[in-house]
């Protein structure tokens, strides 16, 4: 029974996959959809192989690396969606590479200052890579909220819902990953339990956001629009003549 608790997110992920398919979100957010589908498949695979120690070891760490990579791609997709109106501004294309550089740099710096208590180079580099991705996710989430709060954005949008889920999970996961690398396997149960709860909460946020269909922006009435644009053009003409 205790072992089953670790797999609570799996049915939630399967539900989320169904919701995303129903909303057609695999077209709008392909990386995020891939991340969720991968997560569901990874959890099922881990569950099926948990009886075979050596196989489970490889499955666990390889799927962990997959989570990290797809999580980073999902954040990149998210950032592109939010900043789509600013793609002509050259420096917006540098934001994601800069954040990744900071994340990787900070993670490697920390690895040298506080060497992780882990056995084996593979696990060491996967955990270091995970820390880097968590830093990227936390950075992007916190940056997005600051940007949205300052410049004014509609809060109830799918990209922001995705950001909130990643924000919850990556904040807790970064904390637990750092502590796991500091203390090794001594507090494994606590870190794993906290991670599961945070991930389940994140999936519930995503289900909550995607469960409600996105409302289409109502098209303006063509007659009133033509009249309104005519008024605007008249006003602009008057201004030009006055100069």
């Amino acid at each position: 029974m205790g072992a089953l608790l670790w797999y609570i997110p799996a049915p939630l992920l399967l539900l989320l996959v169904g919701v995303l398919v129903r909303r057609g979100a695999y077209r709008t957010f392909p990386f995020f959809f891939t991340y969720v589908a991968f997560g569901a498949a990874a959890d099922v695979t881990r569950f099926l192989t948990q009886g075979h120690h050596s196989l489970y070891f490889w499955i666990y760490w390889l799927t962990d690396a997959g989570y990290a990579l797809l999580g980073a791609l999902a954040m990149y997709e998210l950032l592109r969606k939010v900043l789509r109106g600013f793609s002509h501004i050259w420096w917006t294309h540098l934001i994601f590479p800069a954040v990744v550089t900071v994340g990787v740099g900070l993670s490697i710096w920390r690895m040298h200052v506080v060497p992780p208590q882990l056995q084996g180079p593979l696990r060491l580099w996967i955990v270091t890579g995970e820390i880097a991705v968590r830093i990227v996710q936390v950075f992007i989430f916190a940056g997005l909220v600051t940007f949205i709060g300052f410049f004014g954005f509609r809060w109830r949008q799918y990209p922001l819902g995705i950001a909130a889920g990643f924000g919850v999970y990556s904040t807790v996961a970064l904390l637990t990953t750092i502590k796991f690398s500091d203390f090794g396997t001594r507090f494994r149960f606590l870190w794993d339990a906290t991670s599961v709860v945070a991930y389940s909460f994140a999936v519930l946020i995503w289900i909550g956001f995607f469960f409600v269909p996105e409302k289409e922006e109502p098209p303006p009435n063509p007659e009133t629009l033509a009249f309104a644009l005519g008024t605007l053009n008249q006003y602009l003409d008057r201004l030009r003549r006055m100069r």
């Binding site: 109106g85 916190a142 004014g152 509609r154 949008q157 909130a164 904040t171 409302k215």
Partner: protein, 193 residues
Amino acid sequence: MLSSILIWLLLAWSALGLMYFLYRACARVPRHDPKNLVHYLHPVDWDLLESLLDPAADFELRWRLSPREFREEQRCRMRLFRELLRRMSHNSAVLAEFDNALFGKDDFTPGPGSKVEEAAIKVRLYCTAARIKLRVWLSLPDTLRAVPMPDLARLRMAADLDGPKVYEELKAAAVEAFADLQPAELDALTRNL
């Protein structure tokens, strides 16, 4: 040690951001009547804006006035431009809020970003970048004559955005979004923006 501090600061920033995000996502959308929109706007004198950003005006002032008089006059023009930027930024925030109210009438209905929202963000981005530049220029001591007084025309572009152009895009988006207003109200909207 420093790396740990930075990571903890990042975590704290994220935690605060999450609380703020959940508060805003769950908060009710303010009910605004589009008919009241005009009363929230601060008029932006378009002629004054264009004259302040006109490079010919900068050149004429430099030619006509002594260096000291030019510095004083330019500071006055910068403060005037700063006020116009404040009004443009305020108007963009008001339009975004009314557009949001127009769109988000349901309790929890996710929706995509609208043209007004995108244009409003560009205007605010431009205004923020231009105001930062103005703050730096205005903070330069008057006695520092070795540093030449900058031309206000340079503020036409800030954060890679053409200020007057993005404001015109905002006006057009606002007119399209609030096209259902009465003709007199629509006329007042275009005059007040």
